[in-house]
Amino acid sequence: MSENLLNNINYIPVRTWNWLGVNDISIDRDMPEMKPYTLDILQIGKNSSIDIEPIDKMNSSIDLLNSFQYDGISKELSELVKDNYNTGFYAKINKDQRIKEPVTIHYEFDTDSDVIYDNNIIIAEEGSESTFIIEYDSKDKTNSFHNGLTRIYGKKNSTINLIKVQSLSDKSIHLDGSIVKLEENARVNFILVELGSKTSVTNVCSELEGYRSSASVHTVYIGDKGRTLDMNYRINHYGKETQSNIEVKGALMDKSQKTFRGTIDFKKGASGSIGKEEEYAVLLSKEAKNKSVPILLCTEEDVSGEHSASAGKIDENKLFYLMTRGIREEEAKRLIIEANIRPIIDLIPDKNIKTIIYDEIRRKLVYG
């Protein structure tokens, strides 16, 4: 396979000056040899309340998915998942079915299973409500490669909550795209937690087609060591009175670097729509690099769009205050950063996962 599949990926819908290096990202790595993945991702038995099964030729080719036009991280990488997946799931939530318990899918990498191309499909029927938690983690320090695609179709009045937690080993490549299409009054809420990998490239594209449909993306990240985080979110408002909300918070340490691109696109006809985008980066190291590209595109008069981005070092007054109370510096920093991201983490309805996340953040911030 040609290595240039990893060049110029995760591109923004409108380009700007090349010298800024934000139009796309290229990863210096060869594509891995494809191999089977045999671990049990669904932990059958645990997710019995829902119609969920491993992905196969039949369920991955349903007509509904043909209407998905968007590229994900790149057209080629998404096609690769569609044609050559080695794992994935297909879930359907029946009409008016409301599932309280989150459905958990666990993708684990180890030395034998270090390549995952997961093809995930969620179809939410009318009036249904569901929550999915997808975990990506490494059992050991394996040099793994992940290329995943999650497609979600939300029918009328459905709600889908999707939580993705990524804590791959420090050498791993994480490529993850999510594409969503929503009918009238349907909602999707993403919570994305980015804690690991060497290079993490994530893409979310939500198509708000139905009247009053809405999408939110809440992201928390921690950059440490030499991690590269590359995020590219896009929300397309087509329907009237649609709503979007993007919130990204995180901290950058060591020599980590982050690029956040967020696009809210008000298409003609999306009158009465509201879009909001907010980003805040805490810079904990002199050598960290932080790029933000918050884009608003608009061809409709009757809309309201807002974005804000800010970056700076940790609030010294708060730090000083905590230290006067006898808390040592690293711990005080952790408390401040945790307070900042807690509102997002607390949206996750699974205690165990929350504990894992907080432990991981503590490990990174306090013990380096």
């Binding site: 409108v14 700007t16 009158s271 810079l283 002199k286 061809t299 809309v303 974005h307």
Partner: protein, 468 residues
């Protein structure tokens, strides 16, 4: 109502649209060739290094691709652009010596009047050459130089050679390379150490010749603790062929100096305005950009500030008003390259009748620029659903001792506000115009008075044409 719209279109550009007969003493053939460039250089009796510089730039131009972003530039066909049009007159320092017709145009644009009332010096360019330049005696005595670039290159060759296109090298992008090859006209300003020029200098660029290009070069050097306000105005009558403006502005602001650079651009709507402006600011120096973009068919204009010395400052205040068939891609770039530098960006844009207004910007903070501060605010107003308004900002931060904040908003005039004003007996048209004027007011305040008045008139006329 239709009738009114027609009247507005006519009224709208009024004085700007007066076409003079295309008189010239010399005009190159259309197209961009080595011969045309040698021809221009010879006509200008330039030093050899400049001729070489032009030819080198032409080579670069031929090697560089068009930008892969921004508006489509398909209609630009260099084979159909007249590079150089020498007006039928010499450079003058007395309006009475300027040919009647040209003088009359500048009279209508209000330049001689402004000169008498509120300016310390004036330069007026007509097509490819400066036809008038003057500066107040007392400034000359203090060592201030304000002259056209052609004279400067002969009288102050050493200075020009040292600074010319060093800040904006021809390799920067395609249209700067073009500029390097074919530049003509423009102003040179030099303010010696400690001299504060209290009243503004103004250069006005008028392009009259159909199908021509204007490529003026403005070079301003402010020595230590000097101060200057420079105003630049541009306009052209509308023709059915494409005109091209690819000027270049280089501003050198030395330690403790302050420069305010105000521009009102009202090119006709057959103009491609692909202009490049850049300032380098040394320790404790300040650049203040005030930029109004109203005209042209396509604009790509992003004045750049390089904050090179400690505590250097940059302020950018801009307004863009995109009407029918206009694609105005404007913004600013700031590079914080030293500690304690600060920048403030405030832009507003209005889109109507199918116009496209894009804010494109970047703020870069380099590794050593600790304690850099930047505040960015962009607001866009959509006046109908035929138009387009995009905001494409980039923040690139490479150290952690910084305070950076960016905010942008997009929206329309709220019905509630209009309704409120109407209940007070104000007509809908006037209410809408009031709100738009209010939106633009913070920018208007930064403009020289006559330009602020002009901007308000433009807004009023533009709006009258749309409502109802």
């Amino acid at each position: 109502m239709e009738k009114k719209k027609t009247i507005i279109e006519d009224l709208d550009r009024g004085i700007y649209d007066i076409k003079n007969e295309d008189k010239f003493s010399y005009k190159t053939k259309t197209g961009l060739t080595r011969e045309v460039i040698l021809d221009i250089s010879e006509k200008k009796s330039e030093p050899e290094w400049m001729t070489e510089f032009r030819l080198k730039s032409l080579q670069i131009y031929n090697e560089i691709e068009l930008p892969a972003w921004g508006p489509a530039l398909d209609e630009l066909d260099m084979d159909n652009i007249v590079i150089y049009v020498k007006p039928d007159t010499q450079m003058n320092s007395d309006w009475s010596e300027v040919p009647e017709e040209i003088k009359d145009t500048f009279e209508k644009l209000g330049i001689p009047k402004a000169e008498r009332e509120s300016l310390a010096g004036v330069g007026a360019q007509y097509d490819s050459e400066v036809v008038y330049h003057s500066i107040k005696e007392d400034l000359v005595k203090q060592g201030v130089i304000y002259t056209d670039m052609e004279s400067a290159i002969i009288e102050y060759e050493d200075i020009i050679k040292e600074y010319f296109m060093k800040l904006v090298p021809p390799s920067d992008h395609k249209f700067v390379a073009l500029h390097g090859a074919v530049w003509s006209g423009g102003s040179f300003v030099y303010v010696p150490e400690g001299v504060e020029v209290d009243i503004p200098l103004q250069s006005y660029f008028r392009l009259n010749s159909p199908g021509a290009g204007q490529f003026e070069h403005t070079l301003i050097i402010l020595e230590k603790n000097a101060k200057l306000h420079f105003i630049e105005g541009c306009s052209a009558p509308k023709y059915n062929v494409t005109n091209l403006h690819a000027g270049c502005v280089e501003l050198y602001i030395k330690e403790g100096a302050t420069l305010r650079y105000s521009t009102i651009e009202n090119w006709s709507r057959n103009m491609l305005n692909l202009n490049t402006k850049r300032a380098v600011v040394e320790k404790n120096g300040t650049i203040e950009w005030v930029s109004g973009s109203f005209g042209s068919k396509i604009s790509m204009l992003y004045p750049m500030s390089i904050l090179k010395g400690e505590n250097a400052k940059s302020e950018f205040t801009g307004i863009t008003f995109a009407g029918k068939d206009q694609y105005l891609d404007t913004g600013t770039k700031v590079v914080h390259a030293a500690p304690y530098t600060s920048s403030a960006i405030s832009t507003k844009s209005i889109s109507k009748s199918g116009g496209t207004a894009v804010y494109r910007g970047s703020v870069t903070v380099t590794e050593n620029a600790h304690h850099a501060k930047s505040v960015i605010s962009c607001e866009s107003l959509m006046l109908d659903d035929l138009s387009r308004s995009d905001t494409i900002p980039v923040l690139d931060i490479r150290n952690n001792e910084v305070e950076i904040g960016h905010e942008a908003k997009i929206g329309r005039i709220s019905d509630d506000t209009i309704y409120y004003l109407m209940t007070r007996g104000i007509s809908e048209e006037e209410a809408k115009a009031m709100i738009v004027r209010g939106f633009a007011d913070p920018i208007a305040k930064e403009l020289p008075l006559e330009y602020a008045v002009e901007m308000n008139n433009l807004i009023k006329l533009e709006l009258e044409g749309t409502i109802g």
